[in-house]
Subunit: 362 residues, 2 copies
């Protein structure tokens, strides 16, 4: 680890590849010979056009999206998507199926309900504090869409495979695992992801939309809340969050050119998660909170024998250069978020620390 | 001008103070000893709390806001405000008065109309291609609010004084002149400004709201579109655009500590604008497009004898290190945007170039 940098296990905003940060830093006063910072150039300039188009093209290549899909950049995070989805796709008061796998899917449900949309929660893992991903769900054939959260940052669970929803498109919040593994785009009508976990900094949401979903958007939705506005204007109806999109582009370039694509990224992510889960499963001191078949490869949530030890664990980890290990305030415990940019080296430093902490306190 | 940097007259995103850019660059890999970039730290951390609270406190001090006002940071730019305003303040189908001074106010009107709100356009300068600010307007006493655009980036006009609207609060888009002069907050119920002109980079909108306006927000508005959500959660209901807010904070620090406050900034802005308008008024070659009493101190719009010369002007200016002088594509001509961070030195370089160009081509 470079001098002054810590091993960053933050749940989001989260670690970014050091090479990306260094490239931003190096070019910060003069972007590509423009004589301006990336924060000062016009979004209508040739230079920025190249950035946003490159970010869109890399997204399509990395996720193997076919020509039916378009990449959009929207502000407001995944939380804004929770309200845009019912506005854009349930205007005719059709119903939709939602699966509730914890905090973020619960919020998505709530935003549809605020708009008085007749949605159905067809499955939930609330009965076991969201420690698992529901199986064998009965979806409604007449639903406008099925809404899922692919990875549950707070509960530490993840869909390892997506369910068969027949002809009904899946609309999926992939904020915390987009770009962490290859994608079969055929199941999806819409994918969205706040960038600040696997794809960039806070301040932009990556949205992937299929053309038939665009056709469903009604006319009378406010301009900034219509997916069709972003699709028609290459995400520049108004000034986009230029710096955030630029950083996303650099992260995607790193994924393609340094990592070598999503198959390789997925293998590396599997190795990282295995290191942690193997240690936890082999220990009587640490205990994983998610059920075995539902475990997230992105957010490893675990408990120690008591809360006092958990506090000491988080504190001593930080003193040893390992940051961001506190569980979400709503659930407590510990959590290691090991998104794409968290290196194998960082995870090894963490497992070393965990073994040493157990030896001293176990 | 530092090597490789140009004189930047972009209309937005626009020039930022060089010292701000240098501070960002210097600390980009390790923010305040955290061992993380500002793009990697948690928005729930002590470090980021200090940033966002400092930005709010500086905004209140600079604009001399009293305790009735709260500072919010919202994504989506001014365009998102165009739709949030009717959603939050016209839920009961009350009417509001809008003044149409060109492109951006026209869009604000359109977004209220999309929502079927019974608003009234009580004044417009459309009859003279928006070259002036309307005077002696009759406002409706029963209006929920009056909406104004304080500075019209594209048309080059600006309200030098705000009208008397009695007890009706003014809701004002100050995207292109916020922080350029002192403010008398008493007239305003809501002020909003996309940061990318006078206050920071693209990706965050600075919103100032008075407590009585917050009380008007209805319950059934989507969470991310309610002003009360941001007010209750210190603008962190969900992950805010951390980097953009950090940069705004540094720009506000520069305004307070380097410039010395908004009285001084206003005097400097007046000097910059005078240099340009004096040159234009003393020339038969250049012609200002805005009426004398309505001229913007932020965006100086002007024409040359013909479009061919205008093209040459913009091109040769760029070759001489003066960027961003092309008028908006909807109106043509030339425009020098001289926001806070455009230095007197840059404006002098521009007037020198303008005199030389006139001598060669006049």
């Amino acid at each position: 680890m470079k001098a002054n940098r810590i091993h960053n296990f933050n749940p989001g905003p989260a670690a970014l590849p050091l090479s990306v940060l260094e490239e931003i830093q190096e070019n910060f006063l003069d972007f590509k010979g423009s004589g301006m910072s990336i924060t000062e150039i016009s979004h209508r300039s040739k230079q920025f056009d190249a950035v946003i188009n490159d970010a869109m093209a890399r997204t399509k290549r990395l996720l193997n999206l076919d020509d039916r899909f378009q990449v959009l950049f929207i502000q407001g995070g995944a939380s804004m998507q929770f309200c845009m989805i019912p506005m854009n796709f349930l205007a005719d008061d059709k119903s939709a199926d939602y699966v509730d796998t914890g905090t973020w899917s619960t919020k998505a449900v709530k935003e549809a309900q605020i708009q008085d949309k007749p949605i159905k929660v067809v499955a939930s893992s609330a009965d076991k504090n969201y420690a698992y991903i529901p199986r064998d769900i009965r979806f409604n054939e007449e639903a406008a869409f099925v809404h899922l959260t692919s990875n549950n940052t707070i509960k530490g669970t993840q869909w390892s495979n997506f369910p068969d929803t027949g002809a009904v498109p899946i609309l999926c919040d992939m904020s915390s695992d987009i770009m962490s593994r290859p994608l079969d785009c055929n199941k999806f009508g819409l994918i969205y992801a706040g960038a600040q976990k696997n794809a960039g900094p806070a301040g932009v949401c990556l949205v992937i939309i299929r053309d038939d979903m665009l056709e469903r958007v009604p006319e009378n939705v406010p301009t900034m809340l219509k997916y069709s506005t972003y699709a028609a204007k290459n995400s520049m109806y108004n000034t986009p969050p230029c710096f955030a999109i630029y950083t996303v582009d650099l992260v995607l370039k790193w994924l393609e050119e340094t990592i070598g694509g999503l198959d390789k990224m997925a293998a590396l992510n599997r190795d990282k998660a295995d290191l942690l889960y193997d240690l936890i499963d082999g220990s009587d001191f640490y205990r994983a909170t998610a059920q075995n078949d539902s475990r997230s490869l992105m957010n490893v949530t675990f408990r120690l024998p008591d809360e006092n030890l958990e506090q000491q664990f988080v504190q001593q980890a930080l003193e040893n250069g390992l940051g961001g290990l506190k569980g979400h305030r709503s659930v407590g415990g510990c959590r290691a978020s090991i998104y794409n940019a968290a290196s194998l080296e960082s995870v090894k430093a963490l497992t070393d620390f965990m073994m040493s902490f157990e030896n001293k306190n176990g």
